[in-house]
Amino acid sequence: MKQPSSIDRRRFLKITGLTGASFIVGISFSQAEGAPEILNLSHVAGSFELTPYIIIESTGQITIMNPKPEMGQGTWQSIPALIAEELCVSPDQVTIKPTSGEAQIPGQSAGGSSSVRGSYDRLRKVGASAREMLIKAASDQWQVPAEECYAEEAKVYHKPSGKNIGYGELVEAASKLEVPKEPKLKDPSTFRILGKSMPRPDVPLKVNGQAVFGIDAEVPGMVYASVERCRVFGGKLLSYDDSEAMKVKGVQRVVKAERVLGKNRYESIAIVADNYWAALQGRKALKVQWDYQGNDQFNTAAYEQQLRELAKSDGVVAHNSGDFDGAFATAPVKLEALYETPVVAHATMEPMNCTAHWKEDNKVEVWVSCQGAGIIKRELSTVLGIPQDNIIPHILFNGGGFGRRLSADYATEAAMISKATGKPVKVIWTREDDIQLGPFRPMTFSAMKAGLNADGKTIAFQHKVISPSISATNNDKYDKTKADRSMTEGISDQQYEFPNMKNLYVFADIHIPMAPWRSVTSSTLAFAHECFIDEMAAKAGKDPLDYRLGLMTKDSDAKNVLLKLKEVSNWNKPLPKGRGRGVAQYEFFAGLCGQVVEVTKQTNGAIKVDNVFAVIDLGTVVNPDNVKAQVEGGIVMGLVAAVKDGIIFEKGASRQSNFNNNKMLRINEMPKVEVHILANGGPVIRGVGEPGLPPLAPALCNAIYAATGKRIRRLPIDLNKI
């Protein structure tokens, strides 16, 4: 590893606010060299892009930089833990700071359940490198072999003599050392942090009101804005009259702005005021004329009928193995079914918001809840036409992300409003803005086919997805001739051994913006896939769980998940009449989880969801309690999407607007959830944030079938009217 020789500390002092001596270890992603390189950044040139991960000051202060925004998924603990474990410091000895896109490196965003699995080796190596350098600094000073020394609780100890020295006192010496070529990682059996249910450092801040979310940002001289946008997607601004709005006490200005979401550009009108309430009142008094461009003819019912028509076409091939057409044609037993799911909104508890300050020198500073500093830099630079170096994002705690905050439309718009007013401005979306304006999770329809032989064995299987494409609603260069991988997510990757399988994708155009939503398309495709497997089991007269196991003759993690589920859910213990249990599992890019749901048909006919047993396979686990929390959360979100309101468009706009008509699960509807983690090592580390979601809807609907004999093929359902 190279040791940069020239010294340019100015950049670092600026980034870190450091004043005294310090020891800084980071990573370089200089592209020419391929793999990331661990660097001693204490005395480094600013000629390539750098990310400091560890900063140890002579005072003993230890700072770990965290590139993965905390949105509830636990990265405020799990990411620094990777470094702290190897650095041999306890969590309470560390100050965590979010990165602000200081360097244009990949990875300053959280999504795809990728934070921990994508950082596990890399960040442990960073911590181990720093630890070895600190040990070397101490052993040099004591003139003893480094092998006789070890590190613990931010100190280096000399084993034979028992003497010790704090990291702060080693800063000067360590900063002059070379980075070890092959830092030795700790043996997992000696871990003190990783693999343990450690308390999350953000939790105490979230019980006393001290956690600062994007909406809580305060900037001197700040004004507030509420923004009027067309409810009908694709509407164009004809005219507006702000004379009444300007009469509202506290309203300062009314300015035009624009919301940019991928290829979509939506005109908007911002009411800028002394306080948010005044901005809202001004907005109510604003008179706007929109030209809907005919988009007010759009409605969900008609669009769904189009999808049903499209289901008859072939589309493009996403997967083809064996001879599906031949096997299906000759199969003695055939099944076909169409499954339908709704559009849903993300509805993070913290509505979209951003505080932006466009300064005179074309530097833009933003304070925002967003899933990545990298996203803010990239999007603001692209949309506003200013260099990335001019953009300073401050990423605060996200009041929920779920994929919504992978977009930065709210931030670019706020920056434009700040530019127009010349002041720092806090833009807050109302809940109605948040629910009605998208982007949304797309609906997917699934046309399923299976051919069984006389023994009930599956010989042909087909999952055809008919849906809008997330990518097409955002990208002008969408290629309709190729199967959309994101829209066919997971359907060809299950461990079921189908000898003849042909999966298809039928593209359906839509003008409404769509986006990833926690567990993306698996959140809907798993419903069709796993309910249909249940239909096949029923047709074959087999137990649904045993039927699945019968389709998995080879060992696999998915098979282990099912076996574990069978055990923890007491699957073989019969339930009384009126109760039923259902099973589902789904493996996709983010990970693998299986669930058993138990329901009761109550005397009034309503279905009560009693219990959910979940088994998530991770390979390696960093924080078991947090994993359980994430699976509990995924189950709730999956349940909301299955049994509460979807988004229905009428006359071009969302009929749902707030929590009164876009309902969420409440505490009285919460089933008992039991989460089991499989973490048996191995090379694969799977994700945590999303996999708990997809199996819920199919396991629930399979349970309803077991309890009532009624097969559910369309979501959402009303549990009171099954």
Partner: protein, 160 residues
């Protein structure tokens, strides 16, 4: 605009505001107490829950004028050192995920325990139904409320 004297967390605030301005925005933007959150604006989600003379109310629909002469308590006012049994239980059970709704959840839980120091599951359901958590922490909220009741019984010092 009108002048209001508000007592928030036993501290006096002289506020100039439109009488219709909801207490939520007065508390957040004029008194500068940011722990109380905006979630829906129509009293559906409970993120803005505060206590008015000890009773839980939705500050997003309550005009500032309704707060005068009353004792207003926000999340910042329920303890000095986060040592309220509900806060302790919330930490023990690691309840929050994103945390945005939790100020409101805690305010509702504190109000429940004041009236019902040992609530049943059904009583928890009734008292907490107005608070939405999108992250799905309900199971832990329930557990933490039972735990707070235990902690408080163990301390047996004062009322919640």
């Amino acid at each position: 605009m009108a002048a209001f004297n508000l007592t928030i967390n036993n501290k006096s605030y002289a506020i100039e505001a439109d009488p219709q301005m909801p207490l939520l925005w007065v508390i957040r933007d004029l008194a500068g107490l940011k722990g109380t959150k905006f979630g829906c604006g129509i009293a559906q989600c409970g993120a803005c829950t505060i206590h008015l003379d000890g009773n839980p109310v939705r500050s997003c629909i309550l005009p500032v004028s309704a707060g005068t002469g009353r004792k207003i308590t926000t999340i910042e006012g329920i303890s000095v050192n986060s040592d309220h049994p509900v806060q302790q239980a919330w930490i023990e059970e690691q309840v929050p995920q994103c945390g945005y709704c939790q100020s409101g959840q805690i305010m509702s839980a504190v109000a429940l325990l004041k009236k019902t120091p040992k609530p049943t599951d059904a009583e928890i359901d009734t008292a907490m139904q107005g608070n939405i958590c999108r992250c799905g922490t309900y199971q832990r909220i329930r557990k933490a409320i039972h735990r707070a009741a235990e902690l408080h019984a163990g301390q047996s010092k004062k009322s919640f």
